[in-house]
Symmetry: C3
Subunit: 151 residues, 3 copies
């Protein structure tokens, strides 16, 4: 089953790849694909804004992290032509816009991790790290940095 | 002298590799090994919790960073079978759970850097960066992201 | 035109590569060059200190990010002998010492991104991410982590 077929069977629709105007670049070097830091896609035309532990709950953060993952997949597909060229999700690094007391960063980034494993199966297993950021561009609740291996 | 012999001569005992349940994955791509963000190991069964510049001093932070380094080495050994397969420590990135006024991040992450150079000698010399995080999972005082080159 | 000639035509002078005493290491692995996290160079012998959104404006931050980029280029040149060996700027990750309310991180790191594109042209296009840090070593306003591909 191709990844496109798997996306369809999972009823996952990727957003249109509209990389931010500021720095829309994916870079391929050797077999690695570096994807720019990606945030959640707009909900009814509006980007979510605020901090985990204050404006947003951990569960909302997990949904935003999944949404950032969809944005990442849209960029990867746009860059490679097909998600079937991904041989491994190598690394996710989550920046969570959080309060100083927030402790559930792992549960937030899990929303993006789970998406990668749904879409790519064993190839979706990745090294991961996450931390609380003081602030993020446009007050986004989360940004995810990512690296993929291509076949 | 093998790295195991060197560890013994340095009286360094690695913790048992018990990667967190949340995301326990190391990824090998080409000659690079990406290790998940690792924190200090428990002290008498309890993980340290708190911020540098408030609950903890710089010197305590340095010890925590060394402990995170031991956790990293345990994961690397578990992944590769032997630490002798490491040909270079490529990169360490430290996330220090810190106050807004904290300025000694370099002295904290040095605890992990020094360990790598003790264990691997010249192969332990690495590129490094470090920053203060707003918050970290479970209120850990430090997490270290790392990349190794394998022979 | 060599990169040195381009630097001259752009009237860009690199600082003397004086990597911090703490961790002065660049690492080459395969065709990738990992550069240690770099901050702005001193102005009249003094390093800038403070947070974006409080001590410094976004426009000042952009200048500091460009200055950090010059520091990076000095390290790369010192490591490789010539900037002409750079075949691609792969990744920039900016740590902006910022207030919790700051939202213009992209405009700050753009100062470093623009420098890379001035100097390397299309080879300077890179994947990028940026976040607000709680605090940075020596209260620097920005640190930039970077990865280059070498020919």
């Amino acid at each position: 089953m191709s990844i496109e077929e798997r996306l369809a069977s999972l009823r996952i629709t990727l957003p249109k790849a509209e990389p931010s105007l500021v720095c829309p670049i994916c870079v391929v070097t050797g077999r690695l694909l570096y994807v720019p830091g990606s945030g959640p896609t707009p909900i009814e035309g509006k980007l979510p804004k605020g901090k985990l532990g204050r404006e947003f709950t951990t569960e909302q953060g997990r949904v935003f992290a999944r949404s950032a993952g969809l944005e990442i997949l849209a960029l990867v597909k746009h860059q490679l032509g097909s998600l079937d060229r991904v041989s491994r999700v190598v690394k996710l690094q989550g920046f969570v816009n959080a309060t100083p007391e927030f402790e559930e960063h792992s549960l937030v980034i899990a929303g993006c991790s789970d998406l990668m494993m749904e879409v790519f199966g064993d190839r979706g297993k990745h090294a991961r790290s996450v931390f609380g950021a003081m602030s993020l561009r446009a007050n986004l609740p989360i940004i995810v940095d990512s690296i993929f291996e291509i076949a």
